[in-house]
């Protein structure tokens, strides 16, 4: 998975530097969503000596390439989710942070209808679904 990120960055014509390789590995081993602060903490824990700016810069690069998507958590924090470059949405587990992807099962019809009613020309949209994943659901009922 780290490899895919790096290949895509290479395609995009940026340099494959040491810090970028290390960060790609850190992102690859994360489960679910993570914040810039999480990555920073990972890097510090491993004494990689990667600066804060470098992390924000890479996240921006990855987001530009749609290799990572920005998710706004219900508590207002900004998080990221590594994901396929195709358009889709995320289900976020509020208790363990697990992520599941949803392809557009009907959302396009919703936006088209909204555009028709409002007269807006819709350029982009963001749909985030929050809830509990199957694991957390059953964990709670077994307790």
């Amino acid at each position: 998975m780290a490899r895919e990120l790096l290949e895509a960055l290479d395609q995009a014509g940026v340099r494959l530097t040491g810090p970028r390789r290390e960060l790609a590995a850190l992102i690859a081993r994360r489960q679910g969503h993570f914040t810039a602060a999480d990555l920073l903490a990972d890097a510090e824990r491993r004494r990689l000596g990667i600066g804060r700016a470098t992390i924000f810069r890479l996240l921006e690069l990855l987001a530009d390439q749609n290799l990572v998507e920005r998710v706004d958590l219900p508590d207002g924090r900004h998080a990221y989710v590594p994901c396929e470059p195709s358009h889709h949405h995320h289900l976020v587990c509020v208790s363990c942070g697990a992520i599941s992807e949803v392809d557009d099962c009907g959302i396009d019809a919703v936006t088209a209808e909204a555009a028709r009613r409002s007269g807006f020309e819709i350029q982009s949209h963001r749909l985030e679904l929050f809830g509990r994943c199957p694991n957390c659901k059953s964990a709670e009922s077994h307790q």
Copy 2:
């Protein structure tokens, strides 16, 4: 509109203080979305002497009562939109900031389908649509 906010706050059992009345008026006269910083600037411009904390506290209160909704702008800023307490979504004009409301024309079917496929129990969702409002669209084509 300021009156409605104040009445709802009264219902909620909080005190109707001077700063809250003034802020309600400021919010009422805003068009479209606004950030905490916008409100703060409004208050300073009028020399109301309202502290930063008071503004964040009121926004949180209003959000709890669903009198105002948090919107995450595409550029990552957090904004607020005054709105009806019923569930609905917003169309945000990226060029002038105008807001239009959309009631759930089909989104519930989308979330239900996503829940079925993923096994998640969906607790909440957030849908934001970004684009250009009719005014801005025609302004551009007439230029």
